[in-house]
């Protein structure tokens, strides 16, 4: 194929500009695919965060807000549910199981979740997987704690180590529950969910460390010793939220209505899946914007390609005259320039894909550690392949511009070399 060979030789002769053009396309392609990968990864890890739970209940607020603080540990609850209300709901006939959740304290930036041991059985993620322990087991002493995978590795904690929990999210030293340290009893396997960054304690422990606290401050002189606390009956007065499983899916709506219309206090029950969808729609706008931006970068790179070829046309008039003289038709010259554009976009796309996978390979552990976002390294999806084919097609398309210009020139010039 003489045209392909000529296009290749011609490009090799202008390798620097050609290389820069290819790199520009490659970077834009890597960016576009990267956004796509991150988007899919984010969507997947979003949707994978919670499964198997039919309802989440909490104090009345927005559904997304409830989802955010109860599942994603983002933001704070404005109000609690009283323990009595929780028990009232939990003992209803529709309810198969329920897990109370109490939030509010933290340990060096990691949220502390007060719950029951049922949590480790009932919390499901990524299509029904349950939590597993890499070391130790669930808490059974009052001052035991179970660490999420990231919390354990960041804090460099192992089984038997002692940690001190802080009140609220502040890092003010005075607000530490220093008198009641916890012993690490178990460490959870990595899940790619907010559980990884959570410190789990029992509901009773939450009560115990707050026994001398009133309205968010410690009451001086009232701080009982660990031994005294152990003797007390530590019934929780309130919880932040609860996960509910129902016996029959059909009764979910009925239970939801019951909770939403609960007389004693204003409560809210949400379907986690529906709330996730709503949340994703909000994030989706930003996602669309990102895709638009990266698509624009690709367009810019392709325009650069057209510019690059156009700018060489004048000096290549003699080349075209030569080709005409040996019998090439003006169409052949159009073909030559199109092949050139196609070849450059193809190389750009291929290099871009290589860049993407290299980037993924390097960034995967970092992104996972920093943002808890797991980006799987998978072969290109069909959608992505279609996108790449479209880019090469668009490359050929913009190649048409200089090609048609060359067509006109070669018709006008004939075999005369006009320099």
């Amino acid at each position: 194929m003489i045209l392909l060979r000529l296009a290749f030789l011609s490009l090799r002769n202008r390798w620097l500009t050609a290389l820069l053009t290819v790199i520009a396309i490659a970077v834009s392609v890597a960016l576009l695919l990267g956004v796509e990968k991150v988007r899919n990864g984010a969507r997947a890890s979003f949707a994978d965060t919670i499964s198997g739970t039919d309802l989440i209940i909490g104090a009345r607020t927005g559904p997304i807000q409830l989802l955010l603080y109860s599942v994603f540990r983002i933001g704070d609850a404005t109000n609690n549910i009283s323990w009595l209300s929780y028990v009232d709901i939990a003992k209803r006939g529709e309810v198969a199981w329920s897990v109370p959740l109490t939030l509010g304290d933290s340990h060096r930036g990691f949220r502390v979740l007060g719950t029951t041991t049922d949590y480790f059985k009932r919390y499901k993620f990524r299509g029904g997987q349950t939590l597993t322990f890499t070391a130790g087991r669930e808490f059974d002493d009052l001052f035991d704690t179970v660490l999420g995978a990231d919390a354990a590795s960041k804090l460099e904690q192992k089984i038997g180590d002692r940690i001190v929990v802080s009140h609220g999210l502040g890092v003010i030293p005075q607000s530490e529950h220093a008198d009641k340290p916890f012993r690490v009893s178990g460490i959870l396997a990595k899940t790619g969910t907010p559980v990884d960054r959570t410190v789990h304690v029992s509901l009773e422990a939450y009560e115990a460390i707050h026994i001398d606290w009133k309205e968010g401050v410690r009451t001086p002189g009232l701080s009982p010793s660990v031994a005294t606390v152990r003797k007390l009956k530590l019934a929780p007065k309130a919880i932040t939220a609860a996960m509910i499983g129902v016996k029959s899916k059909l009764s979910t709506f009925e239970l939801q209505r019951f909770v939403n219309e609960y007389r004693q206090e204003p409560l809210l029950a949400i379907f986690p899946g529906v709330a996730l969808q709503e949340l994703w729609q909000i994030v989706g706008t930003a996602e669309q914007a990102l895709i638009m931006i990266s698509a624009m970068v690709v367009v810019a790179a392709l325009l650069g390609l057209a510019t690059m070829i156009l700018s060489t046309l004048n000096e290549r008039r003699r080349e075209m005259a030569i080709l005409r003289s040996v019998g090439a038709s003006p169409r052949t010259i159009v073909g030559l320039l199109m092949i050139e554009a196609g070849l450059l976009s193809l190389l750009g796309v291929m290099l871009g894909v290589a860049l993407l996978y290299l980037g993924l390979y390097v960034a995967q552990p970092i992104v996972d550690a920093q943002y808890g976002l797991y980006l799987p390294i998978r072969p290109l999806s069909q959608r992505e392949l279609v996108m790449l084919a479209l880019i090469v097609g668009a490359g050929l398309g913009v190649g048409l511009l200089p090609a048609l210009r060359a067509y006109q020139m070669s018709l006008a010039d004939g075999m005369t070399v006009r320099v």
Binding site: L9, E319, I322, S325, V326, S329, A412, M415, V417
Partner: protein, 229 residues
């Protein structure tokens, strides 16, 4: 060529009319004229790249105007060899590639060679006959060759596959006196070998003695040219 009128499309600045020009097969003819006398346009007409608005151009017994643009391109590829004044070669390809380019669009011409020799060998032989040999042929790009060497490679490309018609547009004007002589000797020798018709245009009437016939363009054509604005 009979009663040909031509002006470049889209412009009225240049018009050429040729009443009659006949060139016999195997003839070597020199067309003389200063620049602006319509030399390039005449060659464009002969090569079938430009099509006259009126009149008839017949080459090797075929009417160029009766062919489609594609057919003319193909016809040119099969039966013509063209040498320009300078910038004859694709600067990024090797000398050998440039010679073989002459066959790229001419399958018949290529077939003629293949019957007795692979095209590559024929190209190398022709280059050697024209005084280009050794590493220059395949190694390095044409842009690195001297102007004299480039013209010889161009001649080899024009001659490969023994075309019936060799068109040369001032092929020696970029060469110095001595290279000019050598180049013309080699060219004439090879043209005689393949029994081609040679049409050369030049402004240099000292070349006339080598040709069967020398014509002044002014005698055979009328050119009307407007001052460019």
């Amino acid at each position: 060529m009979d009663k040909v009128d031509f002006c470049w499309p889209g412009t009225n600045a240049f018009e050429i009319s040729i009443d009659r020009l006949a060139i016999e097969p195997g003839e070597r003819i020199l067309l003389l004229g200063p620049s602006g006398s319509g030399k390039s346009t005449l060659l464009g007409l002969v090569c079938g790249i430009a099509v006259p608005q009126a009149g008839r151009i017949e080459v090797l017994g075929r009417d160029l105007a009766a062919m489609s643009a594609m057919e003319r391109d193909r016809f040119r590829a099969e039966h013509y060899g063209v040498i320009f004044q300078m910038f004859n070669l694709l600067p990024y390809a090797s000398a050998l590639d440039n010679v073989l380019l002459g066959l790229s669009f001419a399958p018949e011409r290529k077939k003629r060679i293949v019957t007795y020799r692979p095209p590559k060998e024929e190209a190398t032989r022709l280059l050697a006959a024209l005084g280009v040999s050794g590493p220059l042929v395949t190694k390095g790009i044409a842009a690195k060759l001297s102007v004299g060497q480039q013209q010889r490679v161009a001649a080899a490309r024009a001659l490969i596959g023994a075309p019936e018609l060799v068109i040369a547009d001032e092929p020696t004007s970029a060469l110095d006196k001595r290279t000019q002589e050598t180049f013309l000797d080699l060219l004439f020798h090879q043209v005689a070998e393949v029994k081609a018709t040679l049409v050369m245009v030049s402004h240099d009437d000292r070349l006339a003695r080598r040709f069967d016939r020398a014509l002044d363009l002014g005698d055979i054509s009328n050119v009307r040219q407007e001052a460019e604005t």
